[in-house]
Every structure is written in structure tokens, then in C-alpha cells.
């Protein structure tokens, strides 16, 4: 055990006035453990939120679960792998510039892939029934997953451990890994930008209008086709970015990881009320917290089951999501 911190702990710790030294000895490390798990949950949750945004935007506009979104996320992780590990882009450019450039390229390429995907697999099905679109999405997902496997192999791939300096940052009397902060802050930054875009620009307004009622939006002069195309560019870009983050954060990636991350991110989107952009952000963070704390305090082995349990509970009890804001259509 580490040496107990001074009695006051940090600003976040309000210790009861009368604590025996023994209790302090137990309490402070426990609290520390909790804070570490909590922040870890926030970082993972931010990643979920980024992926969930792709699901929720597509669902909002097209009423379609884009099953291939998880694979786009994987694609992002692998493009990042190629740039950072195979091409060693951080060598000549320096760590931060290299990673920033990687992020931009990843987002761009995955956005392109998403755009092509929409054009090939979804656009022809815009007017057919939902089942056909869902199955097409599944087909696209299977295709992409295997394409990734054929290109990068079926084994685990590891990002170099020394890509980012393994330093800790002290905040509020606690020290956190730099990476965790970076992941969280980047995600929050990107999401804020998206929020502003959706709520402050004309294009954003078009997206919101198309999400509420495609037909009415069309009558009001919104070009729904380009909104759909836009959504299929922004969503995958965010998903690809999340893939890169997972690669950096966990260090290991494989070709089928998109399946689980996709399901979890979709759960996050449902928690926030699908189609609701702020909801996806909040849902992602919440799910990350539930998962991290559940793994820490309940059981690591049942971590994923916990996520799906939450998913089922929410769909059964409150299918429109936890945020009251937007009333989804009748279930």
C-alpha cells in the first residue's frame, strides 16, 4: 500500500471529522481506487460516446441500425496501426504532431469508407423495408470485417507501447496517466465541436430536421440525400477516431473487436435515447462508468453481460432512453 495521504485527501474527498487512523488507512486507498476506476470509466465512456454518435446520427436520419459501424471503428484502429507502427509516422514528425496527423488521416479515410459504404450498401435500399436494410448492413459488416482480416491478418496487433510517454499527470491530488486524460479531452473536444455544428449551423439544422421528419424536411427544402451522406461521413470519422483511441489506450487491436465495441456503443446510444445526439454522449459516458465500476466492484468476467443487461433493462423499462428530451416514435 502507498503511504496514506494527508487527512484532508483532495478537494474531492470529504472525510468525516472523526476517523480513526485505521479507517483512514483503509478509506484513502479505497477512494483512490474508486477515483482511478471512475476516470478510467470516463475515458472508455468517451470512446463509446464517439462510436455511439455514429449510430445515433444514422438512426436518427435513416431509422437504420448501421451494423457496419463497428467495423468502420475497427478500420480506424487498423489504419492508425499502419500509420503509427508500420510507417512509424511519429519518428520524423515527433510524437504529438505525428499522432495528430494520424488522427486526421484516420478520420478522413474512415469517413471516405463510410461514404462509399452508404453509397453502395444503403442508398439503393432507401425505399425498401427495414429488414432489407438491416440485412444489407449485416452483409456490409461481414464484408468489412473479413476485408480487414485479409488485409491485416487474424492475429492481435499491438501498437508500440512507447508511442506516448508513459507519464502521469497530477490533478486534484491524484495522478492519472496522461493517455487517459488525452483520450477523454480529445473526445470531449470533438463532441463539443459536433454539438456546435449540429446546433449552430445551417447544415446542422438540416440534420436535425431530417431526423425529426424526413418528409417534412424535404418539403422545407432540405436535401435529405446530402444530409444522409453527411451523416455517413461524420459518424464514421468519429468512429474511426475512436478506433485509433482504443489502439492507443489499450495497445492491442484485432479484426473482430468492432463487434463488441459496436454493440456497446449502440447500447450507449439506446441509453441516451437513440437519435438523440447529446443522449449518445451522455449514454457513452454513463456506460463507460457502469462498465468500469461494475468490473471493479462486481466481476470482471461478467462485465459485458452487465452492459447487455443494462441494455435490456432500459429497452424494457424506458425504451426512449434516459434523457427525457426527445420523444422517439412509438415502440
Amino acid at each position: 500500500m502507498k503511504a496514506p495521504a494527508p487527512l484532508q485527501g483532495g478537494p474531492g474527498l470529504n472525510l468525516p471529522a472523526r476517523l480513526s487512523p485505521l479507517k483512514v488507512l483503509l478509506f484513502v486507498p479505497l477512494m483512490e481506487f474508486f477515483i482511478q476506476q471512475f476516470t478510467n470509466g470516463l475515458a472508455v465512456g468517451a470512446i463509446y460516446a464517439l462510436i455511439a454518435l455514429g449510430y445515433t446520427m444514422v438512426y436518427g436520419v435513416m431509422k437504420l441500425i448501421n451494423f457496419a459501424h463497428g467495423e468502420l471503428f475497427t478500420l480506424g484502429a487498423f489504419i492508425g496501426f499502419t500509420l503509427l507502427v508500420t510507417f512509424d509516422i511519429t519518428g520524423p514528425l515527433g510524437t504529438f504532431l505525428g499522432i495528430a496527423l494520424t488522427a486526421v488521416i484516420v478520420a478522413g479515410l474512415v469517413a471516405l469508407a463510410g461514404h462509399v459504404l452508404e453509397f453502395v450498401a444503403y442508398r439503393p435500399l432507401r425505399r425498401s423495408d427495414r429488414l432489407a436494410a438491416v440485412v444489407s448492413a449485416l452483409g456490409a459488416s461481414i464484408f468489412l470485417q473479413n476485408a480487414i482480416m485479409l488485409r491485416w491478418g487474424a492475429q492481435y496487433r499491438a501498437y508500440n507501447a512507447d508511442l506516448l510517454p508513459n507519464v502521469s499527470v497530477s490533478l486534484f491530488g491524484q495522478s492519472f496517466p496522461l493517455l487517459r486524460l488525452l483520450v477523454f479531452l480529445t473526445a470531449v473536444l470533438v463532441m463539443s465541436a459536433l454539438y456546435l455544428f449540429i446546433h449552430r449551423t445551417r447544415m446542422g439544422m438540416a440534420v436535425r430536421a431530417a431526423a425529426i421528419d424526413q418528409g417534412a424536411a424535404k418539403l422545407m427544402g432540405v436535401d435529405v440525400s446530402s444530409v444522409v451522406a453527411l451523416v455517413f461521413i461524420i459518424g464514421p470519422a468519429l468512429g474511426g477516431l475512436a478506433g485509433l483511441m482504443v489502439g492507443l489506450y489499450y495497445g492491442q487491436i484485432n479484426f473482430y473487436m468492432g463487434q463488441l465495441y459496436g454493440l456497446k456503443a449502440f447500447t450507449a446510444a439506446i441509453i441516451g435515447g437513440i437519435g438523440n445526439i447529446q443522449g449518445a454522449m451522455a449514454g457513452g459516458l454513463l456506460l463507460g462508468l457502469i462498465e468500469a465500476l461494475g468490473a471493479a466492484y462486481i466481476s470482471v468476467a461478467w462485465k459485458d453481460a452487465l452492459t447487455f443487461g443494462v441494455l435490456i433493462l432500459i429497452l424494457v423499462l424506458r425504451p426512449t432512453g434516459l434523457l427525457p428530451e426527445r420523444v422517439a416514435e412509438k415502440l
Binding site: 437504420l64 441500425i65 453502395v120 450498401a121 439503393p124 435500399l125 425498401s128 423495408d129 427495414r130 429488414l131 432489407a132 436494410a133 438491416v134 440485412v135 444489407s136 449485416l138 452483409g139 456490409a140 459488416s141 461481414i142 464484408f143 468489412l144 470485417q145 473479413n146 476485408a147 482480416m149 485479409l150 463487434q259 454493440l263 449502440f266 447500447t267 439506446i270 468476467a301 461478467w302 459485458d304 453481460a305 447487455f308 443487461g309 441494455l311 435490456i312 429497452l315 424494457v316 425504451p319 412509438k330 415502440l331
Partner: protein, 390 residues
């Protein structure tokens, strides 16, 4: 396609033989169908006579196809007939398989003794999990069922109740004994499994044409209208779920018996996706289509083993292409096979595709008009009297 399916059901008369003849063989004359079936069931013999060196391999493949056919046929009741997007069918399969495996290895039950128990366990499980979620619409149900199949897999990996053997699963499931005859070789399993396929096919064939099947079809077409007429949609949907699950449980028993060892990996999400695509590719709601789908999805990859790495890639692309150009599946259900009484054939003969609405109406009239004074004014309104006229 949607509106045409409305013409199902309603017809109920004493002309059973003709009905059986025309519908069971579906287009093909019955003798030809029987001949095909006979040829198929003679395959092990043919293999033996010709001395085919790879007979064992082909029989194993056919057994796998058969198992998936049972699973896909049972999923077809849920997905094809009731129109519920169930992507967790592997969960029911798992419950059945593990019930058999546990009862056989721990309690020493014979495999065939566990068959009804496996079906019951899967059905009960389906009842419990489906009851709260049955009202969920389309893709929400899909996501929840994915969640269920994942939870089941995780539970099995984590050795739930201490009987599932964790990630390694259960080994040493004994061979089934039928009338003192031990089923262990591929051709024996071939007959066992395909007997079950035939049984499932025939049962579901008549189920589809029963009052129950017609209710499901109605619910699929328009739940609100069905409920308005007095069809208890939730109850019928739940029943469809349970029936599908029971047969998936049976398939689980057969699978356990055939493999002798089972592990959680065999019941994952991907397995559910395969079943789902079998039904959709073949033709959702059409049993012949589903059978064909099982052969294609399970058989073709084996035939093209040379392209091993590319088969799933091609499969995925094929799904997309298929949904764009033929979303109804390879052999969609054929509503025209419902034989209408002769006087009304006049309504059906002009098969002008341009007036789909009129055609649906024409098909609706005879049902409602059969005995009761069903108002012809409301298109949906004519429907229930067909169901009620039974």
C-alpha cells in the same frame, strides 16, 4: 409483396387432399417432390454403392446443413411468419444443447430422454426472456435478442451454476440410443437429423396454415389492425417465440449428440447472424426457401473450400447485393398457392402486377364473403371474418 400475402388463410374446407398436394409440393407435382425427397434420403446408400471416398465428409456436411435447417425453420416461425427480428436464436439452441449435455453427463439421462426436456427448457427460457420484450418494435427487438445471446454466452463461459464447464464446455456426451440401436456413424446421424428436418418442415407447414399461422401473418402485416380485430398480438407473438425456441432446443439436443462435445463458442452472436441470413436469403416466411438457404449458406462455403479466406467476404457482399436486387429472398413465399374456391378464381386470374391493391382485395373477398356479411368496404375489415369463420 406485402399486400399480396394478405390472401393467406381463411380457406378451410374439406378438400384436404388437394390442399396438401398443391401446397406441400409447392409448384412441383407431388410425385416429383417425393422422388426428390426419396433420392435425397437414399444418398447414403448411393454414396456406399458408388464407393465415394469422401462420403463421410459429404454426409457430415449434410448433417450440418440439416441441423441448420431445423434451426432456420424454427427461426422462420419467429422471423418469417411473425415478423419479429430475432437475432438471438443461438441462445435457444444453446439452452437446448446444454440441457442435453448436462443431463446426459451429470445425471446419466439418455440423449433421447433429454430431447423433450431440452425443448421444454428452451421454450421456457424463451417464454421468460421474451415476455417483457415482445412488444418491442423491429430493430429494438433485434438488439435485445443480440444482448440475450451474448449474455447466455458469457454466462456459459463463466460456468454458470457450476455445470457448464466454463470456456471448455462439456465433453463426453454419449451417443443416442434409439430402440436399442446406437446412433454414431455419419449416415445414422444423417437419417436421424433429416428425419427431424422433415418432421419440422411438415409440422410447421401445417402450423403456417392453421388459425395460429394466419393470426401470425396478420400480425406481421399490420399489428394494429390485427389487435383492433381482437387478435391478441402479444400472446401470438410470444407463442411463436416459444414454438421456435422449442425446436431450436431440439436441434440443440441433436447437435450435442452429434458432436459429443459442446462449448460456448458454438452459440455466439455470429451463429445467430448465420441463422438470420439463412432465413432472409432463402426467403423469409417460405419453408422451401429456408431449406434452400440452409444448403446455400452452410453448403456453398464448404464446396468452395479453396477460397477459404474469401468466402465470408463474398458472403457479406452477396448479402448486400441480394438485398438490393432480391430482398424477398431466393424463394419467397407464394401466396397464390392458397387455393381459392373456384367461383372466385375469376378474381385471381388477371395477375396484373400493376394493380397489387386490387389483387389483394380480390383475394380478400372470398374469405369474408364465404359465409358472413362481411362489409367489403374496409380492406382490413374483410380479413377477420375469414379468421372468425372457422
Amino acid at each position: 409483396m406485402r399486400s399480396r400475402e394478405n390472401s393467406g388463410g381463411g380457406f378451410f374446407s374439406g378438400r384436404l387432399p388437394e390442399r396438401v398436394r398443391r401446397t406441400l409440393s409447392g409448384g412441383l407435382p407431388l410425385p416429383l417432390t417425393l422422388l426428390c425427397a426419396a433420392l435425397f434420403f437414399a444418398l447414403p446408400l448411393i454414396f456406399k454403392i458408388t464407393g465415394l471416398a469422401t462420403a463421410r465428409y459429404w454426409l457430415d456436411l449434410l448433417n450440418t446443413v440439416g441441423l441448420y435447417a431445423i434451426l432456420a425453420l424454427s427461426l422462420n416461425v419467429i422471423l418469417g411468419h411473425a415478423g419479429m427480428f430475432n437475432m438471438g436464436h443461438a441462445a435457444f439452441f444453446a439452452v437446448g444443447a446444454y440441457t442435453t449435455a448436462v443431463l446426459n453427463t451429470l445425471c446419466g439421462f439418455g440423449v433421447f430422454l433429454t430431447l423433450p426436456l431440452a425443448g421444454a427448457a428452451a421454450g421456457l427460457f424463451a417464454y421468460v426472456v421474451a415476455r417483457p420484450i415482445i412488444h418491442l418494435r423491429g430493430d429494438y427487438l433485434l438488439i435485445v435478442t443480440i444482448g440475450i445471446v451474448e449474455i447466455i454466452r458469457i454466462a456459459l463461459v463463466n460456468d454458470i451454476f457450476g455445470v457448464t464447464g466454463g470456456p471448455n464446455g462439456i465433453v463426453g456426451i454419449s451417443r443416442p440410443i434409439l430402440f436399442g440401436y446406437r446412433v454414431s456413424r455419419p449416415h445414422q446421424f444423417f437419417y436421424l437429423i433429416w428425419f427431424f428436418v422433415a418432421l419440422t418442415y411438415i409440422l410447421f407447414h401445417f402450423l403456417e396454415r392453421s388459425r395460429f399461422g394466419r393470426a401470425l401473418k396478420f400480425i406481421k402485416e399490420d399489428t394494429v389492425a390485427a389487435e383492433g380485430i381482437g387478435v391478441d398480438a402479444s400472446r401470438y407473438k410470444l407463442m411463436a417465440f416459444v414454438i421456435g425456441a422449442v425446436f431450436a432446443g431440439f436441434a440443440g439436443t441433436l447437435y450435442s449428440a452429434k458432436m459429443g462435445t459442446i462449448s460456448p463458442d458454438s452459440f455466439n452472436f455470429a451463429e445467430s447472424v448465420i441463422l438470420f441470413t439463412i432465413v432472409i436469403l432463402g426467403g423469409s416466411g417460405s419453408q422451401k426457401g429456408v431449406l434452400l438457404g440452409a444448403f446455400l449458406v452452410m453448403g456453398l462455403p464448404e464446396v468452395f473450400r479453396g477460397f477459404e479466406n474469401y468466402r465470408l467476404l463474398i458472403f457479406g457482399a452477396a448479402l448486400v447485393v441480394m438485398m438490393i436486387f432480391r430482398p424477398q429472398g431466393l424463394i419467397p413465399p407464394v401466396p397464390a398457392r392458397y387455393v381459392l374456391p373456384p367461383p372466385w378464381d375469376a378474381y385471381q386470374e388477371p395477375q396484373d402486377p400493376s394493380e397489387g391493391e386490387g389483387e389483394a382485395r380480390g383475394a380478400l373477398f372470398p374469405e369474408g364473403g364465404a359465409g358472413e356479411a362481411a362489409p367489403a368496404s374496409a380492406g382490413e375489415g374483410g380479413r377477420p371474418s375469414g379468421g372468425g369463420g372457422e
